[in-house]
């Protein structure tokens, strides 16, 4: 036989069998002794435990970190909300399902059939898992249920934390919202560690999202023993299996202290009214973001425990995009506020100086196209300071023509922070765009043509920025050339008030602008508000060097005959955007503000008043020695004026009033402004507003120059 030769080996194998027998006896012995331990020695304890008690594990949700403004005004808080739950197992055991549901239906005013329907839907899951019947019970309902709970086995009131934005929709985009982790996100979140479970809350937008790891706490748990009817049992020494495991407490998340000032936010929101657009205010000395709002908005509190579909759909389909953060997420054509950049480029490149003048006749011809000035009859002889003040288009067309190429303009725009992300710690920031010859070749495969430089010079053509970029650019001009990264979180504190981390200003770069350039540009910008010829003269703050630039951006391509038509007569969606960017005071500014108002027709009346309200609030609150009734009076006295004298009204031909390409004129209705008492700012003109909204698609900014 084939295996006859194996005999010896088999005998050798047989020797080894004792190890196998030993292993078998060892393992069976081990199992038997474990049985003795569990069933005989601990059997009674286990029996009592299993029959009389059920472990109930209650998650103690860790409170998310709170968010405060720079003065510790509470912005986001965690407030209790009460949900009604039923644990089907206990309900079924009690054999009085019908009565219980009937009683419950009366207490929470919900049809019995509806409750049954919800329970029916949850049939698939283990019956000891609670089923949510009604969220957000009122205090009265909670009280009533607690009273009757004893006769309603399985019915529970569960306290949950509701993330509450105290100021509602004011800073919805900045603060953001939270939502439940969904099954698609779970694997990504738990790549490195088991951190989230289905149904946990997670920041989905704004700071809530960006600071998720800081704000999120560590959930604790409580181990309760409940009887067969789901009621919590009182502590009882005997039979408590888990006496040494009393659970663990929750660890709250860390709090955020923002650089934001809530008073400015409120002032901004009030001044914005129901206008659409964005506002960003920064501190030019360090990059702290003082105010940041986007309108229209939404209330993040509605998101915190699952937003009702109806509200969500309404937000999604709203043509004004309330869910977008217009401060960082939307591109805008800067229009005339870009002229400041052109002025800097012209001065720094040496193609103009303080003595250079051009003659504005109302239009110039470049190639075979005519480029208009907003003032049909022209500004006459004009230099860089007056050109900024009066927003003369022709002057900047000529500067553009003198520059070697659009790249010279692009270089200075980039130096000033336009066309790239500011690096603010919020998700979804868009970079903006500054066209160059190379870019156009790459993008369209066409060479750059000279006429386009002319459009770029007044902030049209392909130029795109964001509100935060504009604020940062003007802050840099205001402080003499230092470029800070805007930041929102000032410090992080633990729940018991220990400072965990403090954020410091970060300098992104310093432009090498000559002092002369800065001086000339600032002078021009000062005139915009403080010179009677300035485009925003009516927005001045008497006694304060409020400085800035208006812009009015035509968003539809208009035919030649319509260029000078009155904006207010156009369809809402075709009206111009208004832009204002400025800072105050002139010397060593403490605040820089950018405002973009969609379809507000004029930068001077649609955007500048909002900026003014914020600047005024800020100065009054923090710099009373710079700006208060007393300070203003002292200052006026120093200037040798006993009282404030309103400037002579600007002489304007009626037909010239309206903005064309991107101007910033004051509407005729405002020209006869009432006399303003000394020391008080003139009341801002009320923007006329057509409420009938057209169903036009929200077309992207049309950058065509004519």
């Amino acid at each position: 036989m084939a295996f006859l030769g194996q005999e010896e080996q088999i005998r050798e194998f047989q020797d080894r069998f004792r190890y196998l027998y030993a292993a078998v006896f060892l393992v069976i012995g081990l199992l038997l002794s474990r049985l003795v331990y569990l069933q005989i020695l601990n059997g009674e304890k286990m029996r009592q435990y299993s029959e009389e008690n059920r472990i109930k594990r209650v998650k103690i949700a860790a409170p998310r970190g709170m968010i405060f403004d720079r003065n510790r005004t509470l912005l986001i808080d965690n407030r209790p909300a009460f949900d009604l739950e039923i644990i089907p197992q206990y309900l079924r055991e009690s054999r009085q399902t019908d009565q219980v549901l009937g009683m419950l239906s009366k207490l929470i005013k919900m049809p019995k059939e509806e409750i049954q329907g919800i329970l029916e839907k949850a049939r698939g899951q283990p019956s000891f898992m609670p089923v949510k019947i009604k969220p957000d019970l009122t205090r009265d309902e909670v009280a009533a249920i607690e009273v009757w709970k004893i006769s309603m086995p399985g019915v529970e009131v569960k306290e949950e934390i509701k993330r509450t934005n105290i100021y509602g929709d004011i800073a919805a985009h900045l603060l953001g919202y939270i939502g439940e982790v969904n099954s698609a996100e779970l694997p990504i979140l738990n790549k490195t560690a088991q951190k989230y479970k289905l149904g946990d809350s997670i920041g989905k937008f704004g700071l809530e999202q960006r600071m998720e790891d800081t704000l999120r706490g560590i959930d604790g748990e409580e181990i309760k023993e409940v009887d067969a009817l789901g009621r919590v049992k009182l502590a009882k020494g005997k039979g408590r299996v888990l006496e040494n495991n009393a659970g663990k407490p929750a660890k709250p998340g860390k709090n955020l202290i923002l650089t934001i000032d809530q008073d400015l936010q409120l002032a901004a929101a009030k001044a914005f009214g129901d206008k659409i657009g964005a506002l960003v205010a920064v501190d030019p000395r360090n990059g702290e973001v003082l105010a940041m709002i986007s309108r229209p908005s939404f209330d993040p509190t509605e998101f915190s425990r699952g937003i009702p579909t109806a509200i969500w759909n309404k937000l999604l389909t709203n043509e004004n995009h309330p869910l977008r953060d217009k401060t960082i997420q939307d591109h805008y054509s800067p229009g005339s506020v870009f002229k400041t950049v052109t002025a800097v480029a012209g001065l720094e490149e040496g193609v103009i100086d303080e003595k250079s003048t051009f003659r504005c006749t109302g239009s110039i011809r470049v190639g075979n196209r005519v480029y208009h000035c907003h003032l049909k009859r022209g500004h006459g002889e004009i230099n860089v300071v007056t050109a900024l003040t009066q927003s003369c288009d022709v002057f900047f067309y000529r500067v553009a023509q003198k520059l070697k190429s659009v790249d010279d303009l692009a270089k200075w725009a980039r130096h000033l922070g336009i066309g790239s992300k500011t690096g603010i710690s919020l998700a979804r920031e868009v970079p903006g765009l500054i066209p160059t010859e190379e870019w156009k070749m790459k993008r369209f495969g066409q060479p750059w043509n000279g006429g386009e430089t002319v459009s770029v010079a007044i902030g049209q053509s392909f130029v795109l920025t964001t509100a935060i970029q504009l604020a940062n650019t003007y802050a840099a001009i205001g402080n003499g050339g230092t470029h800070y990264r805007p930041y929102i979180v000032k410090s992080i504190e633990s729940y018991d008030g220990r400072v965990v981390k403090e954020f410091q200003p970060e300098i992104l770069g310093t432009h090498e602008l000559s002092p002369k350039t800065v001086e000339l540009v600032k002078q021009g910008l000062w005139g915009v508000i403080n010179s009677p010829h300035g485009t925003a003269y009516h927005q001045r703050l008497p006694g304060m060097d409020f400085t800035g630039k208006t812009g009015t951006v035509q968003i539809m391509r208009l035919s030649a005959d319509k260029i000078y038509q009155k904006c207010e007569n156009m369809k809402f969606r075709e009206r111009h955007n208004g832009v204002f960017v400025g800072f105050a005071p002139l010397k060593d500014p403490v605040i820089a503000v950018a405002v973009i108002g969609e379809h507000v027709c004029h930068g001077s009346t649609g955007a500048a008043p909002v900026a003014r309200a914020v600047v005024k609030t800020y100065l009054e609150k923090y710099y009373p020695d710079l700006y208060s009734e007393k300070a203003v009076a002292a200052r006026l006295k120093a200037h040798g004026q006993a009282t404030f004298v309103p400037p002579p009204p600007k002489r304007v031909d009626p037909e010239d009033e309206d903005v064309v390409i991107n101007d910033d004129n004051v509407p005729a209705s405002d020209l006869g402004a009432p006399h303003v008492p000394p020391g008080l700012p003139p009341s801002p003109p009320k923007p006329t507003r057509d409420t009938s909204r057209d169903a036009l698609p929200d077309s992207a900014v049309d950058n065509e120059d004519e």
Binding site: Q6, R16, L30, Q39, M46, I55, R57, Q194
Partner: protein
Amino acid sequence: MNHSWMETPESPDPSSTMRVGLYEEEFKKFNWSLLIIALTLIGIGIFNLISATGVQDKSLGLYKNQLLWCGLGLALTALILLPHYSVFSRLAYVIYFANLLLLVGVLVFGKSSLGAKRWIGIGAFRIQPSEFMKLSLVICLAKYFETDRTVGGYGFKDLLLPGLLVMIPAGLIMVQPDLGTALTILATFVTMMLFMRVRTRTLVIIGICCAVALPTIYKFGLKPYQRQRIISFLDPMADPKGSGYNSIQSMIAVGSGQLLGKGYKKGTQSQLKFLPEHHTDFIFSVFSEEHGFVGCAIVLALYLGLLLNGLSVAYQSHDKFGLLLALGIVTVFFWHIFVNMGMVMGLLPIVGVPLPFLSYGGSSLVTSILGIAILTNIANKKFMF
């Protein structure tokens, strides 16, 4: 030893009365013990399943499936008992590769359940090829070692080929993912290798490699839920809703059975669904809750009998293939019993391994019955020499 196969029924024999006598002789010497133990365990299993699945509306008739599979297993047993077991030696590699093909098929056409792809559907039934792989692999290894002439213990080079034979199916099962089955296959292989003797030096090196590799595998090779199970074994309270909870509930179920149990269909832990997977991996906790220490001891005694009988079959086998095949089958049973019961009693981390004959699952049951059938075949043939 020279009477050999002259006495097998197939061979012609001059005396007809002798033939009848031999048949009777053979019938008398037929090793019934393993089959009796197995049938007893199957009976207990069905009886227990009726209780375990009685409460669940959707699993109400599951024991009927189990009966059906049992019938299939017994029919196959009759088939297996007929030929000499050397037929497995001849078909070893065919069986192995066919089963490997099925495992690949699972990954391609497999049916998913609870996030894992382990089954191939055939009509209304579905089979789990990884269960059969346990037997196929044991047959294959027995065949490999039968012809292997290594002397003085196995070194790395000698382990390469058998290692490959194991790693391929283990890898395929791992990606299903089915850690439990993959581990039992590996454990079976390791046990057999140790039995065959591995060189001390090789063992030491492997030991060191494992010590280095294990933390790495823990960190990068395991899925989060698998890591969680190990954590919750070490600290059952670490994960409130996860497997730590299962472990505690299972221990409570076992312990609360006390001496005599709560009575048939009266186990509160299982009836109220505090127990997870209570008709498959945690079936023994249902049984211990309802039948107590006495019931458990009986089941344990039956398993002990099964293992000891199996070992003695291997011991008494006259050829290397039979010995190794029997030994391999006993090893598979051994690891299943140990790992499953250890898990249920909170001695081992939670690893999805069925308890032979008691857990619900057709493929597992049929595999176990076939294992017993092969053991019985080997046991009977020893009288023929």
